[in-house]
Symmetry: C2
Subunit: 505 residues, 2 copies
């Protein structure tokens, strides 16, 4: 009998097997899924109490069959079938890189990441986790950065809801014995995010630790990684973030180990979820040109450099942590909402993507950035506004505009086909022409107030006064406006202009 599964949902095969010894260390279990002559081999995992599982996300409709392999005879050669039907409504498949600098779902729908960060939210009380879901449901975010491990840090001194590994009598953790309940809870939450349409950007390692995860042996690291990949790679909303701040872990996990981590993930992940790695110090970016890196994760406040990162790495740039809206006494956790929104527009209008985090002091130490809960800031409403604008016309992704052969470095300008966005930020010209269309036409031009969230039609105007080009020497050309028309602007900062062909209704 064939089990019915929807395309891009999780199929799980579960079987009882040996429970003695330490199956986490000792038993290999996998399955090969086949459709016609196509084979996809997927690692399985031990889930405690003698239960072995393998999970598979079918990317193609049809009649699939599978057969298991194992070091344990009783687990080998088991087989079954699944009948994969169309994707459920609203399901677009896993996200992958498209058009070099951008992302799309497997079905072609553009995906613009608007992520947030709640490092240890799955380790908080059940009530707080429910509140986090509620906040996410009401908010503008379609991705969340979240760690497998709990966090030991300022405002993060509580014990996790579940130990990740079994606790010994002396209180230490046996890093060779996972607490399966913890992992099951973790993937339940990933599944709920998936159902909400939220990507789960899974942080596999981080340095804020009192349980011993930072000092696991190489063997323990590799085994952990294979295990978590086997457990969750079938969730279509998973992304792999190898670390939060890998460079703060280089003394216990040398660079070659990080490289190998990437490879191990690829070995166990047939969907090839997006993989990246997040720096701590702004001068310590991983070499994102390495072939196993899918997109660039950056922690950097200097978002005008987005152009440089695109040029340096040639991959999508996601600035996860351009500093957080908040008011805590940590130097990275207290910019005001206005500045964060400014950094959003700067980044998007330079062809990159940017993430959110929030750190307002809280009497119960419930800061969104680590624990989830509720949001207090002024930025999220503006992020929702911005997301709507950029999703409305997204086709191939935003490409930085060129002027005199060089990208915009002061003001920000991007285009996706005939749709252009110019973000002026701290600039407040009363006349403008750079980056406007070179040919006249039936353009719809809107002035966008990024803070007050208004969109106001603008009329075409005359070109600004231009000095005739008559340099007698020197190479510096007084730049001409190649535009067909100019704009009159209100002369205040934090405005953007959108130019697009007028839609005929």
């Amino acid at each position: 009998m064939s089990e019915q599964v929807s395309r891009w949902d999780v199929f799980e095969f579960s079987i009882k097997g040996p429970a003695g010894g330490n199956p986490y260390l000792d038993v290999n279990f996998a399955a090969t899924f086949s459709l016609g002559n196509r084979d996809v081999t997927v690692p399985g995992f031990y889930d405690g109490d003698g239960v072995y599982k393998v999970r598979f996300c079918p990317d193609t409709e049809g009649e699939w069959r599978f057969v298991t392999t194992s070091t344990d005879k009783a687990l080998a050669g088991l087989s079954g079938q699944l009948s994969v039907g169309p994707a459920k409504s609203g399901v677009h498949g896993p996200v992958r890189v498209r058009n070099q600098f951008h992302f799309a779902h497997a079905d072609g729908k553009p995906y613009l990441p608007f992520g947030t960060t709640c490092y240890a939210w799955t380790h908080q009380t059940v009530e707080l986790q429910e509140q986090t879901f509620k906040t996410l449901a009401d908010g503008p975010f379609n991705k969340i950065r979240m760690g497998v491990f709990p966090k030991d840090y300022i405002y993060n001194t509580n014990e996790p809801l579940f130990d990740v590994y079994e606790k010994r009598a002396d209180g230490s953790h046996d890093l060779d014995r996972p607490n399966f309940e913890c992992f099951r809870h973790f993937e339940t939450q990933i599944g709920r995010l998936m159902d909400m349409g939220v990507e789960a950007d899974i942080i596999l390692f981080h340095p804020y630790d009192r349980w011993g995860y930072c000092t696991m042996t190489e063997e323990q690291d590799f085994r952990y990684l294979r295990y978590i990949v086997a457990r969750i790679a079938a969730y279509r909303n998973v992304w792999w973030s190898l670390a939060n701040e890998y460079d703060f872990l280089l003394d216990t996990k040398p660079m070659e180990r990080w490289d190998r981590f990437f490879q191990i993930i690829e070995e166990g992940d047939p969907l090839r979820h997006p993989k990246s790695i997040h720096n701590g110090d702004v001068d310590k970016n991983y070499d994102h040109r390495k072939p196993w890196v899918d997109h660039v994760c950056i922690q950097n406040w200097d978002v005008k450099k987005t152009l440089d990162w695109r040029a340096a790495y040639g991959k999508p740039v996601v600035n996860d942590e351009p500093e957080y809206e908040g008011n805590i006494p940590k130097e990275w956790g207290n910019i005001d909402g206005h500045e964060l929104v400014h950094r959003y527009w700067l980044t998007l209008c330079r062809g990159g993507y940017i993430g959110h985090g929030e750190t307002f002091l809280d009497a119960n130490d419930e800061l969104w950035w680590a624990k989830g809960g509720v949001l207090h800031g002024e930025a999220p409403a503006r992020i929702a506004f911005l997301r709507n604008i950029f999703e409305e016309d997204a086709v191939n992704g935003l490409t930085p505009m060129l002027e005199r052969g060089t990208t915009y470095k002061r003001v920000s300008a991007v285009q996706d086909g005939d749709v252009r966005y110019i973000y002026f930020g701290e600039h407040q010209p009363v006349e403008w022409a750079l980056g406007l269309p070179e040919k006249d036409g039936d353009w719809e031009i809107d002035l966008i107030d990024v803070w007050n969230m208004t969109v106001t039609p603008l009329e075409k105007g005359p070109l600004p006064k231009v000095h005739p080009q008559r340099i007698t020497g020197g190479s510096h050309i007084t730049n001409q406006f190649a535009a067909a028309f100019g704009l009159k602007l209100p002369g205040r900062p934090y405005l953007a202009v959108r130019i697009r062909p007028r839609k005929t209704h």
Copy 2:
């Protein structure tokens, strides 16, 4: 008979000589000034109508004598005496680099450059130049960037008050025949600035030209440079800026010529006025490590990099052009006053200096940045406020503060001895401790609102909540507050804190 001169004033010796041919090309003239066994040789110059002059700024009180040398027999061997008395009240002598990253007058008085930019103001109408003097007298600026040559550019299409070189019948200029009236006028204005206590940052070359200055031969360039140095080096307020945007001139003036320019200036300038060179493109800084560069001139909006420029060049950093307050359709000329003031605080609180310029559209094309006249912006009042604050406690200059062995990169913090300034900028913590004194004491602590120009006393408070340091692995130390106390802050951006020992009155 000995002429009476005050220390650091201009002594001028003038003599009639041959007027035939082209003395600008043909006659060398110089004088050696002596005090005891010390000799200082100073180049002279031809001033038209057979008049030869040599100017000298005596740096030492005493009975000086001089004797001339020349390729013309009638001008050689002339001698005289000058009796140099104390400097006039308020005269502190020429500015030079002190303490590696800072400036001081020759008498030791700290000099903090608060410059502005009026590229071609001496080439405008006499009325407009008088207005510029009036504006400078009322404003916060103690340095002005100004070109020898007029400017041909957007909003700068008018003819100069005086041709710099003699005009031929066909309208072209004879670049081997200076218009002496133009140079006399230029140095009159330098002298008036000197009397006002304003340093004249003289821009020797620039690319915005319709008269032929950009395409002078190497020989013409060198002769021009020797000539202007001979004319104005005795003015104690002169600084040498080799170019505005030298990199836009590299096709006609190759790099070796710029190097040689520096050397030629040194040859003719016994006072050794500060020398630097200003880039156009942000990626085209001159190599300011070259030994003839005294201080770093920078055009760059990304002022948080001030720390990087200090580290790269090891010299004082003056960011002449962090973009201008204004509203014109040029991408470098339209930031709002708030942003410019923010950049001032960022720069000063990272151990650098920063300059002003203003470009508001004007019906008569009278933009301060090029022509002088009047100011319209909101920044100058805040620059005056900031200048008062930093001059009040200036001793050795501001040094970036260290935390965990690294300079501040997000918030900005500097100290000069026991006086500390922390600028939060876009950050809005409600509690703070980083960078505060490690020992308690009788500190005077003030909250500075950089835009509203208020200074409000702050009380010491408890240290912020700190997570105990108990990292089990990894190298990342949860940074502890080494401070003796914390501060409660209002939780809004664009504030600074000053901490200094309480003065006993």
